[in-house]
Amino acid sequence: MDALVAQLQMQYRNYTASLYQQGFLDDQFTELKKLQDDASPDFVAEVLSLFFEDCVKLIGNMARALDQTGTVDFSQVGASVHQLKGSSSSVGAKRVKGLCVTFKEYCEANNYEGCVRCLQQIDIEYKALKTKLQDMFNLEKQIVQAGGKVPQVDN
């Protein structure tokens, strides 16, 4: 059993570290993890699921705004991007946030193609992050089920 726990823990560590290295996550995510304690054991998971919900909603808004026949209301797009930027920076979704910054610039420049491209990229990014984090949470569950403690992985 211990061997299993140890193995899982190592797996977890490596996986999480890779997420940081690949730029999926940043310091803010670490901070979030620190807020998780016995009182709120699923805090990070909760927040991340909220985040992904927001992603869906905001991306939908942006798509709709960009999909307008006629003149596109870039300010509306920009508002959604701004919000997404805020959320992503708060959860530590580094890549998503980076894309939001670029997206915003395109909005301000009223660059339609640029915006559309960014939107597509964000869509891909957040989904990828979601998958990765899902795997990470699963590993955590397994460790806990195996009777071990989830190791602390900082950056």
Binding site: E31, E46, V47, L50, F51, D54, H82, G86, S90, V91
Partner: protein
């Protein structure tokens, strides 16, 4: 629970501080909530600004602090900020992903206490409670009725440090300790406060007078005052403020003097040096240095009722004010009684003087940042430039004001008293001082009730009468005239006062006749332009700052006031030039 109650009830503040978090982004809101919980605050969240407002309106005392996002769909965060500030006067912290300085600026302009950038870190949230304390302290100061020990004492700490008086060192140390204790616990500001009523203050003044401003010690003052439940600490802090205010007046006077170019001229009045203790420097004159009080003050105390006719040997004796102070029942205001005026009147004869220099220079000198110089003209008898006998009919009014000021204890922030214009007229019109005053006395209560209330620092205090009866305002008064005119329409309203600081510094000269006092002061100032001379009349301590601009002139030549009678009370500096009444509001004393 009010904020203060919260502070008292929760000893571990900032633990338990009640925060309202507003953000339409649920992710951020959730994170914020957790962060705040981690800081041990009590958190309420909402994703709508409207809901937030409703929550706040429902119970104003339910929250200590509001944190709000800037970009919200139903209401602009800045709008919410404004509304909260206006309606509930709670500290609001803005939160945004916008790092653009212009947003930060906007936040500041709309009154935000702080502006945080997303993602918010817990370190930043750990200190937000400071805004609550700051705001509550500010509110406290505004609504103070009696002495504000902790805040004032802090200031006086610094002031005292500069003092040269060594004989007060012991007293200072003691006071410092007390204040130190208070300051260590900023949240424990609620202590039973002493109400410095007129009566109490009179006793205090009498005691100080008796002991000597310089030498007065709280212990002895306390003994002399013989008031129940008054502690030495109360007296000590009151004494501090008293001295500090005196000092400030002297500083003002000093500043004025420094700008004069006529110093040397007055230095020639060496005969007055015999008075002793005049400081000729620009430095701050320590309150009642021994020289002053012991020497000059003692001399000046005894000022005769006769007229001064010469510069030399100009300080004959006057009766001591002390007995008067105590026995003058009229000064102890129970309601708004008016004490019998003791011949204190100064008739200003400088009808024809214009004060271009006065207005330009004096206003700049006299006007502190937040204050307005309000000018006002009493009516005057004919000018007597040659003989030095300024006549300024004011003092009955001044005393009334001071009486009223001291007798009513009301929040400081917005009050200045103003004499009833009617009564002022009365004074000014009558050349027979005594008659005028005693007549005016009877108007006292009514008049006092009509004292002006200025609700904002920007309103100057309009003192006394509007225009000279005989229209003797100099035609070329220039801006002074304009100022006077602009002040005309000021209305009267109830005066609110609280026991405030007395500016006391310098020699205390006493005279029954105000004009003689003026003259006396003028003479003193000739010797030392930086000194503000005080004279007391019936407990009204009137520092006299003599204008160094004086030019004896007559008949329509522009002239600065011969001297300015100044007294400060409760943060209001009344400056009454001999030929013009000017009042300046001196806030934040």
């Amino acid at each position: 629970m009010t904020v203060e109650q919260e502070f008292e009830a929760v000893d571990q503040f900032p633990v338990g501080m009640r925060v309202l978090a507003v953000d339409d982004d649920q992710t951020c809101l959730r994170i914020l909530e957790t962060l705040l919980h981690r800081c041990q605050y009590h958190v309420t969240t909402t994703d709508s600004a409207q809901t937030a407002l409703e929550l706040l309106r429902e119970n104003k005392n339910k929250f200590d602090l509001v944190i709000s996002d800037v970009d919200m769909p139903d209401m602009d965060g800045f709008k919410l900020l404004e509304l909260v500030g206006l309606e509930m006067d709670l500290p609001v912290i803005m939160l945004s992903a916008h790092s653009d300085p212009k947003y930060v600026m906007k936040g500041v302009k709309h009154g935000a206490c702080d502006y945080l950038l997303k993602p918010v870190r817990i370190e930043e949230l750990k200190n937000i409670w400071q805004h609550v304390v700051r705001k509550s302290k500010f509110k406290k100061m505004k609504s103070i009725v009696t002495n504000v020990e902790s805040t004032d004492n802090t200031d006086q700490n610094g002031v005292k440090a500069n003092r040269k008086r060594k004989d007060q060192f012991e007293e200072v140390e003691e006071d410092d300790e007390e204040r130190g204790n208070e300051n260590d616990d900023p949240t424990a500001q609620k202590k039973p406060r002493v109400l410095w009523t007129r009566e109490l203050h009179n006793k205090f003044l009498a005691a100080v007078d008796h002991l000597g401003v310089e030498k007065a010690q709280p212990k002895k003052i306390l003994e002399l005052m013989n008031v129940d439940k008054l502690t030495r600490e109360n007296v000590a802090s009151h004494l501090q403020k008293f001295r500090s205010a005196l000092k400030k007046i002297t500083n003002e006077a000093n500043q004025q003097a420094n700008m004069a170019a006529i110093d040397s001229h007055f230095m020639q009045m060496s005969s007055l040096k015999g008075l002793g203790g005049f400081h000729h420097q620009q430095r701050q004159i320590p309150l009642g240095s021994g020289q002053f009080h012991g020497g000059a003050a003692a001399t000046m105390r005894h000022f005769p009722l006769g007229r001064l006719n010469s510069f030399g040997g100009v300080f004959p004796h006057v009766s001591s004010s002390l007995p008067r102070n105590h026995s003058d029942g009229g000064y102890i205001l129970q309601g708004m009684p008016i004490p019998p005026l003791d011949d204190l009147h100064i008739n200003n004869n400088n009808n024809n003087k214009a004060f271009p220099s006065f207005s330009s220079q004096q206003t700049s000198l006299m006007v502190a940042p937040n204050n307005q110089l309000v000018l006002q003209q009493p009516s005057y008898a004919s000018l007597n430039p040659g003989g030095f006998s300024p006549h300024l009919e004011i003092n009955k009014r001044l005393e009334d004001w001071s009486n009223t000021l001291l007798s009513t204890n009301i929040p400081q922030s917005d009050v200045h008293s103003k004499p009833d214009a009617l009564e002022w007229n009365h004074f000014c019109n009558s050349d027979a001082a005594q008659a005028g005053f005693s007549g005016a006395n009877n108007l006292g209560p009514m008049t006092d009730a009509q004292l002006l209330r200025s609700s904002s620092p920007s309103e100057g205090l309009f003192v006394g009468q509007q225009k000279l009866e005989n229209g003797s305002m100099p035609s070329d008064a220039g801006s002074l005239d304009d100022i006077v005119n602009s002040m005309m329409p000021k209305e009267q309203s109830q005066a609110d006062f609280f026991e405030g600081d007395w500016g006391l510094d310098g020699i205390i000269a006493h005279s029954e006749l105000a004009y003689e006092n003026l003259f006396l002061c003028f003479l003193c100032n000739l010797v030392n332009m930086r000194k503000s001379v005080l004279f007391r009349h019936n407990q009204l301590l009137l520092p006299l700052v003599l204008s160094f601009f004086f030019l004896l002139s007559c008949k329509k030549k522009p002239v600065s006031p011969l001297c300015n009678l100044c007294f400060k009370h409760d943060g209001i500096l009344f400056v009454l030039p001999m030929n013009l009444l000017a009042v300046k509001e001196w806030s934040n004393l």
